[in-house]
């Protein structure tokens, strides 16, 4: 479903472009929810034991796993702090967002 992967917001030019039915044609990836964040998670990988718990509990699919290590996707991370709260080694710290 290539449509779904499309990260750009769909804006219709005219009613002709609008489908007949109210139906989705694109994903929500254009909506960079990172801008909602007031505090940001930072991972101290040296203390990370790769337990995957942060990934498991991130409500916004914003912990990615890059060659076996957890990486925060700041484009979408809303800064809820669950990862830091749940991290067994407390190696994720929430810091004031410096936008």
């Amino acid at each position: 479903m290539p449509k779904k992967k499309d990260a750009t917001k769909i804006v219709f030019e005219s009613e002709k472009d609008v489908p007949m039915m109210p139906m989705s044609l694109g994903s929500m990836l254009f909506n960079k929810t990172g801008s909602w964040r007031n505090i940001r998670p930072e991972i101290k990988l040296e203390e990370c034991i790769q337990c995957g718990i942060c990934w498991k509990f991130c409500p916004d699919m914003s912990i990615e796993i890059e060659n076996e290590w957890p990486v925060v996707d700041y484009d979408f991370c809303k800064g809820c702090g669950i990862c830091a709260e749940e991290c067994p080694t407390k190696c994720i710290v929430m810091v004031e967002e410096r936008k």
Binding site: M1, E15, V18, P19, M21, P22, M23, S24
Partner: protein, 384 residues
């Protein structure tokens, strides 16, 4: 093949011949025989369909919408309170563009409880975006049901096939039941342009902001406006296959009429009888039976009605605080029109009070005797 059947069974046969695939319905007098026969047909395999015996009409329409969105041809039937309980879902079916077809038996709205006919139940759904067909005979009920599927699925707009309580629903008439093969030619399988399926995932009917909603609804209206032509067209095709023409309106002796009656439902046929009687008595009266109310047949009305000196609309319904709904809409349709005969707005037969040829003679007597109506509403048959 000719059968003597009741109007409710004419609906069932229509749904069966249309090869309805999903039926979700809830019983209510005077609709019950529709679902009873259909559940028998499903039981003995005459009809290959899923019959969902829902716990309310609200769920009936919800299930029909879901099934329609999944790509199945869906049918239901109800009446009065049941139709009213569906109201929210009626908006849903049209706004979501789900071509469900529903039979509705006209029954007066409670309270007090009434199981007898008037049109307030279906006409108070006139703003929900459904097409509305008013039938005058069991034959028309069956034929219209099949036509309704064709039109609905072409426009992605749901349809209501409407018949009077008892006067049609429980009345046996001779009906020519068309044979399946020919119906299949008229009405091929339902192949929606979009449906809910993992094969091509979409989210349907979701949150729609002010930047898009207007256009979606504009489309709905534009497709509604394609309706009248399409109904005439499919009505002609139907005639070629079955020898019976299905039109927007059924005009009887209107060409030279000085007074044209505007009628609907079974009263629209009874009016013909009165017209014949009055013609014999030398009165130039005609009858315009409105078979389709939504989409409103503007052109037909504007073509036929202005010929008359006076128009007498007989409504078996009322919009409280305004007046009869057919009268109201006929007036607004003719408003801009050149020739602009006075419209007399009569109300008769609420709550199942009988409408007889005499009713129409009374109507015409009044209309003849007055230049213009003395009141917004002229009541016929109220014990004043």
């Amino acid at each position: 093949m000719k059968k003597v059947i009741m109007g409710n069974h004419a609906l069932s046969y229509g749904a069966m011949l249309a090869r309805s695939e999903v039926i979700a319905a809830y019983p209510i007098t005077p609709q019950t025989q529709v679902v009873e026969l259909l559940s028998e047909m499903c039981a003995d395999g005459t009809l290959h369909a899923k019959f969902i015996k829902v716990e309310s009409e609200h769920s009936a329409m919800a299930a029909c919408i879901g099934a329609s969105l999944a790509g199945a041809r869906t049918f239901t039937a109800t009446s009065s309170q049941g139709l009213a309980l569906m109201h929210e879902m009626l908006h849903w079916a049209s706004g979501g563009r789900h071509p469900v077809v529903m039979g509705n038996i006209n029954r007066s709205m409670a309270p007090g409880w009434s199981i007898w006919t008037d049109q307030n139940d279906s006409l108070s759904q006139r703003d929900t975006g459904w097409m509305q067909f008013y039938c005058a005979s069991n034959q028309e009920v069956l034929d219209t049901t099949i036509q309704a599927f064709k039109v609905s699925e072409a426009l992605y707009i749901p349809s209501m096939v409407i018949l009077d309580a008892f006067a049609l629903s429980h009345t046996y008439e001779v009906v020519d039941v068309p044979d399946q093969a020919v119906v299949d030619r008229f009405l091929p399988r339902f192949k929606p342009y979009a449906r809910v399926t993992p094969d091509e995932p979409h989210a349907f009917n979701g949150l729609t902001g002010p930047e898009n909603y207007f256009e979606l609804r504009y489309k709905l209206q534009k497709d509604m406006e394609r309706g009248p032509a399409l109904i005439e067209e499919t009505g002609l095709e139907f005639e070629r296959l079955f020898g019976r023409r299905l039109r927007l309106v059924d005009d009887y002796l209107c060409d030279d009429a000085e007074i044209i009656l505007v009628t609907s439902g079974t009263a629209g046929y009874t009016a013909r009888v009165a017209v014949d009687q009055m013609r014999k008595a030398g009165l130039k009266v005609g009858n315009l039976r409105m078979r389709v109310f939504r989409p409103f047949p503007f052109d037909a009305c504007r073509r036929i009605l202005p010929k008359a000196k006076k128009i007498a609309v007989v409504d078996r319904n009322i919009s409280y605080g305004h007046h009869g709904m057919f009268a109201q809409e006929v007036k607004s349709a003719l408003y801009q029109h050149a020739g602009h005969p006075p419209v007399f707005s009569f109300i008769a037969g609420l709550g199942g009070r009988d409408i007889t040829p005499g009713t129409f003679r009374e109507v015409v007597d009044y209309t003849k005797a007055h230049e213009t109506p003395e009141d917004n509403i002229l009541w016929i048959g109220v014990k004043k």
